[in-house]
Symmetry: C2
DNA sequence: TCAAAAGTGTTCGCTATACACCCATGG
DNA sequence: CCATGGGTGTATAGCGAACACTTTTGA
């Protein structure tokens, strides 16, 4: 179908019909113990120079979209083998003013602590979800879709496992679920429910008593957690 | 980025880097009152000539994936404005043996009664989900993903509304949910639950007594149904 | 008249929900 | 010593799950 033309030393790839460019973008979610955040990078070139956007890039001919997203993620954050999930492909004809581009969008769940960047000087920064500025291209739309997808997938995905540090307090876990679902749970009922599910195991250590009273630290029990995800692990609504 | 080359009267579209082709495929779900079905078309050309596959085709430069899927659907089934939903994009490098193709996949929910095709002579036929033959390309995988997506989305989507005829018995509704979720509900509990949800309204007519006893016919109450979908309308598991 | 399918009601146990209470700690 | 946050317990209402009973209709 394609053909290679060599003219004046330049290699070009030619097709009978026009082909769009294909990219992947990655909405990187992190959690600081209280609020849900996303990692944005500032564009250094036109169009939308200076605006913030999700990291992403062109897909190579010998990689799948997943491989592409993981590669970009590694380049941006240094993270290897992060948890990613494809959630939508954006195809509106003029979403990129330069040429036709379709974008396979992923979200990633990462531990903020393990990610470089975030220095104010850097061109990559974490933003709380309700403080995200106007983004480049149609990335506002992409963000809204990502949030929605995460909310719907939360009952089947290792949200806590990937977003929280290895050890965490139940309050942090509750904050996480509240941030994603945008609801409020009764503190005591949340505790009881988590205990009954038996997916957490008590750690030896205690939390840094930054608050009045120090709290227990927990770890996920991977087996139990996986079982619950398979069945569709539901919190109260 | 692209350039048009005219050589020996042929117009060609040229790029500095290779571009994949982009197609949409559509998994069309229907329901015959008992079992969930999919509409397949038989390939008339190589590769995979003679094998069954999902209808689909190349995306044009001035249409979105959604528009492309609706157009293909219209061409295949005559249906205008069917309910479609994008569920995954398939990007494995060699999924098409000819060239690099990425496919944005949709599923459609349609009323079988309103769809042409299905004649044995025709090149389009309905297959029950457990009678689908080996498909062309990676369409087996696409089907599995579509089923999975439908199962997960069933609590937020107008599954019944789009798949059932305007009027239906509660038994048909139960069969539908059982077919999608692959579970069995107690007949009486399902009745009671549906009554309590108040999303159905009684029709004047009665069912054709093809069975021993004729049954009530119901319609969806669109307002109530939409409310329930927003909240995430859950059946028992 | 009997079997199959549809419609209605009842009981039981679990759990979501709403609370009250006590303990630990730092100001 | 008291305000704040953390851990545990209890009562209630509502729903899911199991199941009995009645009615209708065709063979």
């Amino acid at each position: 179908m394609s053909e290679i033309n060599k003219e004046n030393g330049e290699q070009r790839y030619c097709y009978k019909y026009p082909h769009p460019s294909v990219t992947t973008d990655c909405v990187i979610f992190g959690f600081d113990g209280t609020r849900l955040k996303v990692l944005l990078v500032q564009r250094g070139i036109e169009p939308f120079k200076g605006r913030w956007a999700f990291p992403g890039g062109f897909m190579k001919m010998e990689e799948s979209a997943e491989e592409c997203a993981l590669r970009e993620l590694q380049e941006e954050t240094g993270l290897q083998g992060a948890y990613i999930r494809q959630f939508h492909t954006f195809t509106a004809p003029h979403r990129d003013p330069r040429e036709r581009v379709i974008t396979v969008a992923f979200y990633a769940l990462v531990r903020m602590q393990e990610v470089k960047g975030g220095d104010d000087a850097d061109d990559a920064r974490w933003f709380a979800l309700d403080e995200v500025p106007q983004l480049a291209f149609d990335h506002d739309q992409i963000l809204r879709r990502a949030e929605q997808a995460l909310r719907q997938q939360i009952h089947f995905e290792p949200v806590g496992f990937e977003l929280l540090p290895k050890q965490f307090t139940i309050k942090e876990l509750q904050n996480l679920y509240e941030a994603i679902l945008d609801v409020h749970f009764d503190r005591r009922n949340f505790y009881n429910k988590m205990r009954r599910l038996e997916m957490l195991e008590l750690s030896d250590e205690r939390s840094n008593p930054s608050q009045r009273k120090e709290a227990f630290l927990f770890r996920f029990n991977p087996q139990k957690y996986d079982e619950l995800k398979k069945k569709g692990f539901r919190l109260e609504f």
